[in-house]
Symmetry: C2
């Protein structure tokens, strides 16, 4: 089970790129990228887009990993985590099938 950070780091190393190079492309400090790869900071969607480009990763898949990471981290400690997800799924289906109110 890979975290976002691990995915990014593995792919970067596979491609033989340095933090310096990738961070320059993404236009962020390399300290930030280092922290992202170690899951100490979370990338923005913009960063993910750029990262998927230079690392040749599927952008949508990366986004899924990113958000699911966040959610899993958020609720992994709850006893009722599975039930939470089921209810959340229903709510999302409901929200999508109904017009937005604001």
């Amino acid at each position: 089970m890979e975290t976002i950070g691990q995915i990014l780091r593995n792919k970067r190393q596979t491609l033989g790129l340095f933090l310096r190079q990738v961070s320059a492309y993404v236009d962020i400090d390399q300290a930030i990228l280092s922290k992202i790869e170690r899951n100490e900071r979370k990338p923005t969607k913009e960063m993910l887009g750029k990262l998927s480009e230079i690392l040749k990763l599927n952008k949508d898949e990366l986004l899924v990993q990113f958000i699911s990471d966040k959610i899993a981290y958020e609720i992994a400690g709850e006893d009722c985590a599975e039930k939470v997800l089921k209810v959340a799924e229903k709510k999302i289906k409901y929200l999508k099938s109904h017009p937005i109110q604001n």
Copy 2:
């Protein structure tokens, strides 16, 4: 599909209680409770516990509603929301079946 706020407000009114009374029991400003019921602020877990007591609601069920609300709100706008949940579920199962690292 009820939000947390709606659940709390409906039950409070069914029981014939005023914001003043409930907020006193929960030990929060009634302005905060008003905002919670209108989903303008989010209750803490402590508040939820107290609220479930005075409103005679199932504490765990309320917690599920609360967290699922938060998640649904967080990702309802994503195209890949359903996939996110599936992946999150896998990650949670993985996290629960493996010892914590820190």
